[in-house]
């Protein structure tokens, strides 16, 4: 049984690799043969070459550092604040009941419509972008914090009471680790939403950053730079997302009762 399910798993993985390779090869061929013209898209191999050239020359290092720093700051802000707001709402059921429907409607609104307002308040620069990213990300963290705290088992809480921990220690020492899997889900979503908020902000108006470079390259028909930077951004997001997903799965398995 185990052997056959392992054989199945490896055949699934092999099929995945074959499908991915075939898709990339088809795209490469379509670009090379001119089915997709060069103004629209450059062949994948050239994208990789462009990315390599960008990284080797180091000419966009400051933009890359700018965007990564902004994303890190926004995620830290959203996750930190979101956890405490979520814990607060969890402790106040009456407020929570009223606010929860608003939280679930939040992502139906494109938050970066507030970006122009943020520029007016904070000026063009880091702060407006970070606030933008954090605003977009915080609700995912709040929702997942509440979800995680709901799932903390009673036994764990009773032992916290027996140890006579005060509210804050109970939250940090007992509830936080017990809600771990959902908090990592919140963190994962916070990263995705921060990237959307910040890159969208940089597309619209910014002095530097990956989004700014992509928009500039687009305006100037510089497809090498544009696709190189896009590839960098996507690979970065997929890598971080993959790492967090693995961590999430491992935590879920350890706290397997849910």
């Amino acid at each position: 049984m185990i052997a056959s399910s392992q054989a199945r798993l490896s055949s699934v993985i092999i099929t995945r690799i074959v499908v991915l390779t075939a898709l990339l090869a088809a795209l490469e061929l379509a670009c090379r043969l001119g089915v997709i013209d060069r103004v629209t898209m450059i062949p994948p191999t050239e994208m990789v070459a462009a990315l390599w050239q960008i990284l080797a020359s180091g000419r966009f290092d400051s933009d890359i550092a700018f965007t990564t720093g902004n994303i890190a700051a926004a995620v830290a802000l959203a996750v930190g604040l979101g956890f405490f707001v979520g814990a607060g709402l969890h402790a106040l059921p009456r407020l929570r009941r009223v606010i929860e429907p608003m939280l679930s409607a939040y992502y139906a609104i494109p938050t970066f419509i507030f970006y122009p307002l943020l520029i007016v308040i904070f000026g063009v620069g880091r702060t407006a972008l970070i606030v933008m990213g954090a605003m977009f990300a915080i609700v995912a963290m709040i929702v997942n914090t509440i979800l995680g705290l709901d799932r903390v088992s009673k036994v764990v809480l009773q032992s916290a009471v027996m140890l006579r921990l005060d509210w804050f220690r109970q939250l940090i020492l007992v509830r936080l680790p017990a809600a771990g899997p959902h908090l990592v889900t919140g963190l994962k979503l916070a990263v995705t939403y921060s990237v959307i908020g910040i890159v969208a902000g940089e597309f619209i108006l910014a002095t530097s950053g990956i989004g700014k470079r992509v928009a500039f390259a687009y305006d100037n028909f510089d497809n090498n730079t544009m696709y190189g930077m896009l590839l960098l951004l996507l690979l970065g997001v997929i890598a971080v997302n993959g790492l967090l997903s693995t961590w999430e799965r491992r935590l879920h398995r350890r706290f397997g009762q849910q």
Partner: protein, 245 residues
């Protein structure tokens, strides 16, 4: 129920109060007053030119929504039904769902040009994957006894999907549609931000470029109300179905 309604009223009142205070602290350059915003929103709704924007957005949103839902359910049913294909496709779809689609905007613009088709494409790439993922998960979670029943009745694959799997999975599929529709609206508006000369998103970005603060706030408010209403409606349908099913 009654106390929830009272609490909601208190909260809305509190938010309006905070809004008014923010306005008094920050000034008319930054945000507009609640009352002025409401009046402006009313004026916009009475304005024929604004209705042209609404119509343009509505058409793109409707078309994108239909494509995302139909395509998402079709692909999701198939991937859920054919377990091997589903296992192979799973990480690809999840990755596509999780990447920030906004980074693809130059690609969409180059492929579709400015205008209606780019807006629709933007809406579809946002809404398609959640519908697919939820449908696929729903079909996989259908109790095995239904499969056996279908086999006993010697139903064809198509008949199994259409008459047994789809109805059994409907509540979860609706949850996917709810998320998908919200993201389609988001995607369509993003499309209008960057790739359009008409529509509510375009009106909003133009208002912010010309620094018409009251217009920005009024359109934002209208969008919020619209999005929240769509969300509430789909929530309602979903809950009704769960009670019946």
């Amino acid at each position: 129920m009654k106390s929830t309604r009272l609490d909601t009223a208190i909260l809305v009142f509190g938010l309006l109060l905070v809004w008014q205070l923010l306005y008094m602290v920050a000034g008319a350059n930054v945000i507009s007053a609640p009352l002025a915003t409401l009046i402006r929103a009313g004026q916009l709704l009475a304005d024929e030119r604004f209705w042209l924007h609404i119509k343009s957005t509505g058409e793109a949103f409707g078309l994108a929504g239909i494509i995302a839902i139909v395509l998402g359910i079709a692909v999701g049913l198939w991937l859920g039904f054919r377990r091997f294909a589903g296992d192979v496709a799973d990480p690809f779809i999840n990755t596509l769902y999780s990447i920030p689609k906004i980074t693809l905007y130059p690609l969409i613009l180059l492929a579709f040009g400015l205008g209606m088709s780019a807006k629709v494409a933007f809406g579809v790439i946002h809404g398609l994957f959640p519908v697919t993922i939820f449908t696929m998960g729903a079909v996989r979670n259908v109790a095995p006894i239904y499969y056996r029943t279908a086999r006993i009745m010697r139903l064809t694959d198509f008949a199994t999907l259409a008459t047994i799997m789809a109805p059994a999975a409907l509540p979860e599929i609706l949850a996917g549609i709810r998320i998908g529709v919200a993201l389609t609206l988001l995607g369509t508006l993003i499309g209008e931000f960057f790739a359009s000369t008409s529509g509510v998103g375009f009106a909003l970005i133009r208002a912010s470029e010309t620094h018409a603060v009251t217009d920005v706030m009024a359109i934002t408010l209208l969008l919020f109300v619209f999005a929240a209403s769509v969300n509430a409606l789909l929530n309602f349908i979903q809950r009704r179905l769960r009670h019946n099913g």
